[in-house]
């Protein structure tokens, strides 16, 4: 049963990932990523990360992707031209990436770490992966990282205002200013 779930999730996530890369229209790429994230959340569940699976769906597929959709819609779903100034990148890039995949796989499969060949211990602490357990860790051991992450969100908001916000002088001086 678990195997089936994994393969369904893996094929779905991977297929969607490929779709993100391949699809010409950025709009569909965004949608493909949403699908990818949904499948990924499934795999998270298999790894006993219930809270993160939920967070992935809610925060990511829900909120962040909306932002993507919005921006993609705002700038227009420009399809990439067929013409490529450097077509060899299209070939060499993937070859190198495959090589990287092989290298990482060798590193993982060739590792002497015996636990890698198991599905993981059964005697995990109770509540493994639940919001409560993760929350405890977050507030106890990783308080600083958590706080820093929240500050990061604040900073990102400021950055977005700086970059995308429009100010009065813009409207006066810039050719693109009449719209807002």
């Amino acid at each position: 049963m678990e195997q089936i779930a994994f393969f369904v999730g893996a094929i779905g996530a991977l297929g969607a990932a490929f779709a993100v890369v391949i699809v010409k229209n950025p709009f569909y790429s965004v949608l493909a990523l949403v699908i990818h994230l949904v499948f990924l959340a499934g795999i998270f569940l298999l790894l006993m990360a219930q809270f993160l699976a939920a967070a992935l769906i809610v925060v990511y597929a829900g909120a962040v992707m909306v932002l993507y959709v919005f921006v993609a819609a705002y700038v227009g779903g420009i399809e990439e031209p067929k013409w490529d100034s450097s077509p060899e990148l299209r070939i060499v890039g993937p070859i190198l990436a495959v090589a990287l995949f092989i290298a990482i796989s060798i590193a993982v499969l060739g590792s002497g770490l015996s636990a890698l060949g198991t599905p993981g211990p059964d005697d995990v602490p109770s509540g493994f992966g639940t919001p409560e357990a993760v929350g405890h860790l977050m507030m106890e051991d990783f308080l600083i990282a958590f706080e820093a992450a929240s500050l990061l969100l604040l900073i990102a908001a400021v950055a977005a205002i700086v970059l995308a916000g429009r100010r009065r002088e813009d409207r006066k001086k810039l050719p693109g200013g009449e719209g807002a």
Binding site: V21, H36, L40, L52, Y68, A156, L163
Partner: protein
């Protein structure tokens, strides 16, 4: 399911994301591919977390999600700013800085 499988999957996702960065020209799509790479890292972390029975990795993944969201916000902000400047949204066209 053995942990190795999850890791191989994550390596595949990582490579896929990297391919996207190398072949796509639309910055919005490149940002999506960066998401793929980060989520590959997150998957690896969760797999190890499961293998070790240690939830540190799960907290780490949460942080990674936050970071990814922030990167997206700034990246999209830049895309919007460029669009407003009427700059081409094509990384092959933005190469004034070179040499």
């Amino acid at each position: 399911m053995d942990i190795e499988w999850y890791l191989v999957l994550s390596a595949l996702l990582f490579a896929t994301g990297f391919i996207g960065v190398m072949v796509r020209r639309n910055p919005v799509v490149i940002l999506l591919c960066l998401e793929l790479m980060l989520s590959a890292g997150a998957l690896a972390l969760l797999a190890f977390s499961r293998m070790l029975g240690n939830q540190d990795g799960q907290v780490f993944v949460l942080i990674v999600l936050v970071v990814a969201a922030c990167e997206v916000v700034v990246g999209l902000g830049l895309v919007v700013a460029m669009y407003r400047r009427r700059l081409p949204l094509d990384v092959d066209e933005i190469k004034e800085l070179k040499g």
